[in-house]
Amino acid sequence: MVSIMGTLGFRPETILPTIRSTEGLQRVVVFHSDHVRSREAVAEVGDICEQMGLRFSHHEVPDAFNFMRVSKAIQDEIAAMRAAGDVLHVFNVAGGTRIMSACALLVCTLEGVNCVYVHDDTLEEIPLPMLQIRYSDVLTPVQRDVLRYLLAHRGEDITQKGLGLAFGLHKATVNHHIKELVARGAVQLMPSPKDSRIKLIKVEESMELLLGRP
């Protein structure tokens, strides 16, 4: 099934160019806030889709200003669509709150999904320069496993020694991977509050997005 996704604000016209330009379109999915005007815009797009015989679904994001929550909602939907074997042709990031748009663009980069923007005045659809490669592919499998482990144990005191034991890796190997992850800004080394000679490995919650949904 050929699908498009989009973030939708108060103006239904921001997503219409993508509906018009997608060949063989079968399904439209939009993300929107709980604002009454946003719901009205959703209703209008839904009507248009019904008239065109397109499947339409919408996701109301309860807190459209919460970066992590919005990003995860979008990432989950993309994962579900892919698992169902649907083709996500493009994501339109023109509508919705600034945070919703930014979340959509970020998730599309991470997942290697095409994106378009629609100019505010001219309503011209503008393709954005995105690579259709999963972003996390730049990390090695071991680095991804280390990040996954650190995310699963967030809040715990993890050291390079502990990581070596957990993965059965030599300390020099662990040190190499951690150095790479620190250089890329994926993790940070912080002195332990109990003993400043010990460095704890900390990871930002947002790195969950980098690894994608299981």
Binding site: V93, I99, L128, M130, V138, G185, S206
Partner: protein
């Protein structure tokens, strides 16, 4: 030395929070021309003066995303050439400005933050530019293609024709090139993504970015 670029609308508090959260030796605001007349701009400007923080402003057509991307791109390259490692905060301003900043940060591999109600470090990997996400063979072909090239004129080390076809297919799948006509006279041109990537390869990160991410 670190430069902090912030997208700015009318909210000085977001910029001040960014200044507190992100280490910097220079602050650069990117904003629309009309935003300079706002009191909050004067507030940041006078704060920087009191802190002795070098402060710079770049204006752009904030509703034109592609034009704003160009402004960000040129700004980052200039700062890098001056020896700065760069961080970007995309939390202020209209959403076209934020998107332009985010996409530039992703393409150039810049530490990226979204500072609004709380600071969030986004999962943009430092030093991982759009071109570094490609293999050396893919990069070699992108450089050869330039504004456009005949497919039979493309070469890879070892002169392997099958490798050229394979790598071109990979580039096509990742959205970097398009093949214009049928074999054997096929010509290959770069897509917008391909052009950004090629431009990025030709300029490259600064020494500061390579060292500090």
């Amino acid at each position: 030395m670190r430069a902090l670029i912030c997208t700015f609308g009318f909210d000085a508090d977001k910029i001040i929070l960014a200044m507190k959260c992100i280490k910097h030796d220079r602050l650069v605001l990117v904003t629309g021309t009309d935003n300079l007349e706002h009191d909050s701009f004067d507030r940041i400007s006078s704060l920087c003066e009191r802190l002795r923080t070098p402060f710079e402003v770049m204006t752009t057509d904030k509703f034109d995303m592609m034009a704003s991307m160009s402004v960000f791109q040129d700004l980052v390259w200039r700062l890098r050439s001056e020896g700065f490692a760069v961080s970007i905060d995309i939390g202020g301003g209209v959403h076209t400005l934020s998107l332009a900043a985010l996409l530039t940060a992703i393409n150039l591999g810049i530490e990226t933050w979204h500072i609004d109600r709380e600071p969030i470090r986004l999962p943009v990997l430092s030093g991982v530019s759009i071109s570094s996400r490609l293999s050396s063979e893919q990069r070699a072909l992108l450089l050869q293609i330039g504004p456009g090239a005949r497919m039979d004129g493309l070469r890879l080390p070892g002169n392997r024709r099958d490798a050229v076809k394979r790598v071109l297919l990979e580039l096509k799948r990742s959205g970097m090139v398009r093949v214009e006509s049928a074999l054997p006279d096929a010509t290959v041109t770069l897509t917008e993504e391909g052009m950004v990537c090629r431009q990025n390869m030709m300029r490259g990160p600064s020494k500061a970015d390579r060292l500090t991410g």
